[in-house]
């Protein structure tokens, strides 16, 4: 009898926890899909945005990157070309 009660409690606990986790998972996936669609539509309307930025590092060297949202130059220390670089969609690449 005790075992049956324990089993019952265990099953109910698992069901509650599983339902909680599935609920979280579903809402996350739905929002992901929704945002992905909005991004795809916006991309379709604008013909697909992309940007490229290049930084001359001196001595014939350079760094560049390409992004689909935002590109910019990154500054470095005063008085030095070291530490300068480029940034595309959040990724920084230094000279």
């Amino acid at each position: 009898m005790k075992k049956k009660i324990l089993c019952g409690i265990a099953v109910v606990t698992i069901a509650v926890v599983a339902a909680f986790n599935i609920n979280l998972q579903e809402s996350y996936e739905l929002s992901t899909i929704r945002l992905a669609n909005i991004e795809a539509l916006a991309s379709g309307e604008s013909g697909g945005y992309s940007c490229t930025v290049t930084r001359d590092c001196g001595g014939g060297d350079s760094v560049s990157c390409t992004g689909t949202s935002h590109c910019e130059l990154v500054t470095g220390p005063l008085g030095s070309s070291r530490g300068r670089g480029v940034k595309c969609d959040g990724k920084v690449t230094k000279c």
């Binding site: 606990t13 986790n21 945002l35 992905a36 949202s69 990154v74 005063l78 530490g83 940034k87 230094k94």
Partner: protein, 347 residues
């Protein structure tokens, strides 16, 4: 006793035992998952709606690469990279004045990076001219401090503090990441705790930080690590350090950064987490990059910062990418770099 043993052997069923052990394992895993979920602090999200927006002022001044937005006594200051000058707007986003003109000559600015205001003075770092310029807030140049023949180490790409005679900010040196430079006597000292990385090249490029000031001390925020540090103003010793990766929204973005880093991170590159920071009225705001659904930079984490650091909420801006922002008593101002607009939101 013998009967009892026999009875237990009779009731022993390997299938039931197997099922019970599976149930126990499931309960254990579920408890671990619930605990893990509760450890990540999911902050309440507040959607801010745009009240005002401008993309051109005085009929012909457009914005590009706006940075270092600063609210000071009812005026909004920011660098306009399009013209290499500093623009001042009132709270209704109308032009008040323009400070500086582009050029390499005396009194001119080139490659404006960051500025900082103390009372009626403004220190401006210009990477193109390699100078520190001191203006009054009416736009009159008071002092031009050239750094061409000096060995000064100061990173011009991060917010810094100006106290009237010294600039305090990122040094660009990994071992001593923060520095104080006295403009009057040209003395420089270093402090700060280093972040360790497996590669030396990563330690070199990932130890720079934004520096702000509060009554508690210097507030220091990395652009790529989820840390807020507070250093004592007098001793320059680390008072405390806060890891904000425990905030659910930030933690998920960091997981994406880890996944991206495994795929395509070179030794000379990294992903930014913090785009910009601002401190106002005992609250610290961090504009962080969210990589979970593509790349978005439109969420501010708001922290209460008194004798400790307490995350309060996430403020969501309506645009997709913002590169700088500031906070006044009533409003938040942001530069929407996808639209090239300055926007105002009710706080």
């Amino acid at each position: 006793m013998e009967k009892l043993l026999n009875a237990s052997r009779l009731t022993y069923n390997p299938n039931i035992q197997n099922m019970i052990s599976k149930i126990r394992f499931s309960i254990l895993i579920s408890c671990v998952l619930v605990l893990f979920n509760s450890c990540q602090n999911q902050l309440p999200e507040i959607n801010l709606s745009k009240e005002l927006s401008v993309d051109v002022i005085a009929d012909s001044i457009y914005f590009l690469n706006v940075g270092c937005m600063t609210s000071h006594e009812g005026e909004i200051f920011f660098i306009n990279g399009h013209e290499d000058n500093i623009i001042t707007l009132n709270e209704d986003l109308s032009l008040i004045k323009i400070i500086g003109t582009r050029g390499q000559g005396p009194n001119e600015l080139l490659g404006l990076n960051k500025f900082s205001i103390k009372d009626s003075l403004m220190a401006v770092l210009t990477g193109g001219n390699n100078r520190i310029n001191i203006f009054n807030l009416n736009g009159r140049l008071l002092k031009e401090h050239g750094l061409n023949n000096t060995d000064i180490r100061f990173h011009s790409g991060y917010r810094f503090v100006f106290n009237g005679r010294e600039i305090i900010g990122s040094s660009s040196l990994a071992d001593t990441p923060l520095t104080i430079y006295n403009i009057n006597n040209q003395r420089q000292s270093f402090f700060g705790e280093k972040y360790e990385f497996p590669l030396l090249s990563q330690a070199t490029i990932r130890n720079d930080r934004h520096t702000l000031i509060s009554d508690e001390g210097f507030i220091v925020v990395s652009d790529n690590m989820p840390f807020i540090e507070v250093y004592d103003i007098k001793t320059n010793m680390l008072k405390y350090k806060y890891d904000y990766s425990t905030i659910g929204q930030v933690g998920r973005s960091l997981n994406e950064i880890k996944n991206k880093g495994r795929q395509n991170q070179g030794s000379n590159s990294y992903y930014t987490l913090c785009q910009d920071v601002y401190f106002a009225d005992n609250y610290l705001y961090i504009l962080f990059a969210n990589y979970t659904n593509g790349y978005r930079v439109n969420e501010l984490v708001k922290f209460e910062l008194t004798s400790s650091i307490k995350p309060i909420s996430i403020l969501k801006l309506p645009g997709k990418i913002y590169s700088s922002f500031c906070v006044s008593k009533e409003f938040i101002y942001g530069y929407n770099s996808a639209e090239n607009t300055i926007e105002r939101f009710k706080l």
